[in-house]
Amino acid sequence: MKTSIRWYVVFTLVAGFPLVSPAQSEPGVNGWIDRQIDFILDQQNVGKNGQGSDKQRESPSTDPGSTSLVDQSSATDFFSVAANVIPVTPGLSQFVSTTGSTTTTNGPAGSTTATASLFALLAALNKVSPTDPKFYAEHVSPRRFSFTIGTAASSQATDNTDTPATVYGAKVLLINSRELYTKRNLARLKEAQDANANAAKASAVLKLQIKELIFSALNPGSVDPGGRPSDPNSFASFISDHLATDASFQATLNDLSAETRRRIQTLIENSISAFSQERAVLQEKYDEIRKAQQLSISYTADIRDAKGNNDHRVELIFDYGLSPRINWTVNASGDYTDHKSAPDFKGGRFATSFKGSLTQPDSAWGKCPITLTFGGEGKWQTNHKPQYTFQAELTIPLVPGVDLPLVYRYANRIAQFDQTDSQARMGLSVDISRLAHSFK
């Protein structure tokens, strides 16, 4: 480890070029120092982590056209819209299956829902940005509540009408260990702040030491016996002319002796612990908050016209981060279908999913990670055989705030029909606040 760090520092000192785009760091010598530190920390194999997968941006699972088989415990903090742009008709089996047991039953048309948190509504009413830190801090409880409204597809076969249903939904987070303003998470953030402070102090000292070292090496007659610049004005001019920009610093770097490079290398290595600690603490605290458990209860209703069936679902939803990149969700619900021309259906449902992030986010307000989700659902209703469904979903971020979920779903039977079914679905989810932020 030590050898590879030394090799890199010596190599970049000799070659004199940065290995990371300077556009994303400070210019000149400061940015170069930051990159040496980052490289050493990378070598220490302190991994970075992805952005979370617990926020549901898709339609609720009660929507027959939804791309979501399993509901997440928390909705968006702000406002999001989900559209299922490719209807669930016809079944994918029409195209790929050769077995006689599959079906091509026509499903309902596409649907659209919009979800907003009570927090977002309050921010709008108060004409305050939902990202305002003070407003965010003062409205912890409203982030526990979210509401959904929209339309859901209907089919004559299962819903007794072709007229789309109106979707009403509400969700309350009962346990939210990922909320920042809990005592435990505030203590974690204090640790992050302390690590940030120690790194800032070490960085300020290190950068001035290296600037003075380079100045004294190239201007030995302009330093005092302690090696510090004897004329502050000369030092200021030296920084402006030789250290402040990437181009000027490259030339300066090439003029340094091997001994000066060795001393720079030693300075960086000797101060690395504060930066290592900062990176480790940020990663650790992020993981601890991301993996914390959440439990919510939700109610969703698909209300149809006078002759259509109405669907109601009360659901407990549990989320837990198995690892920094994998989120595990469990749903347990009671379902009730109010039939207008037949006995009502009552039943229960259990579903679970594992959602993994395949990529890292490019920034907090940038595109979300590509995610792959595997989920399964079992439904048991009166007067029906059990229905089991499996789903695989790949969600691709198109631009910040806009995601494209692609879904393959297989069911052993469809609602009232004793036939298997497989379908491909495609949706579109839009996180309005994230999208708006990208246009700023």
């Binding site: 990371v20 556009a23 994303q24 760091s25 400070e26 210019p27 000149g28 010598v29 400061n30 930051d34 980052d38 982590n49 952005q51 940005s129 990202t131 305002d132 830190p133 003070k134 965010y136 801090a137 920042l180 953030l189 204090k190 992050a192 702040q193 940030n196 402070a197 790194a199 800032a200 102090k201 960085s203 300020a204 000292v205 950068k207 001035l208 600037k211 003075e212 510090r228 610049p229 502050p232 004005n233 030092f235 200021a236 920084i239 402006s240 250290l243 402040a244 920009t245 900062e278 990176r279 940020l282 605290k285 992020y286 890292q360 986010p361 490019d362 920034s363 907090a364 307000w365 940038g366």
Partner: protein
């Protein structure tokens, strides 16, 4: 690091200030997120401010001055603002030079956007002149 750093006024690397003539620096950090985490540190005096030191934290705007108070004055000082993005996604850092006659000039203004485990250092050297 995946911080997106967008300078409106690039870091000059060094700033000359004459406190004896009433000159000083004014700092502003604008935050866009739940809980800003940052530190303003000096090579000479260590940690000067943390986000939590400011009344009303967390908030959208943090402001402070440096070199207006004679006790701040330290020749050849490196000043670093170090931002963490764990619970705050975007920052704007602005440094104004006040010339002692009521005029202010923006000498550094940079936007940052980062992912939760990112951090962004920004520093320059202050040289005290007569």
């Amino acid at each position: 690091m995946s911080v997106i750093r967008t300078p409106a006024v690039e870091n000059p690397g060094v700033i000359k200030v004459a406190p004896a003539k009433g000159q000083y620096l004014h700092f502003t950090v604008n935050a866009g997120g739940a809980i800003p985490i940052f530190t303003f540190a000096s090579s000479a005096k260590g940690i000067l401010y943390e986000a939590g030191d400011f009344p009303g934290h967390p908030k959208a705007k943090y402001e402070w001055e440096h070199l207006k108070n004679p006790s701040d004055i330290q020749q050849l000082e490196e000043l670093e603002l170090r931002l963490a993005f764990l619970t705050n996604a975007t920052y704007t850092y602005t440094v104004e030079f006040h010339d002692g006659t009521g005029n202010a000039t923006v000498v550094l203004q940079i936007d940052y956007a980062g992912a939760p485990t990112d951090r962004a250092p920004e520093s320059f050297t202050v040289v005290i002149v007569a």
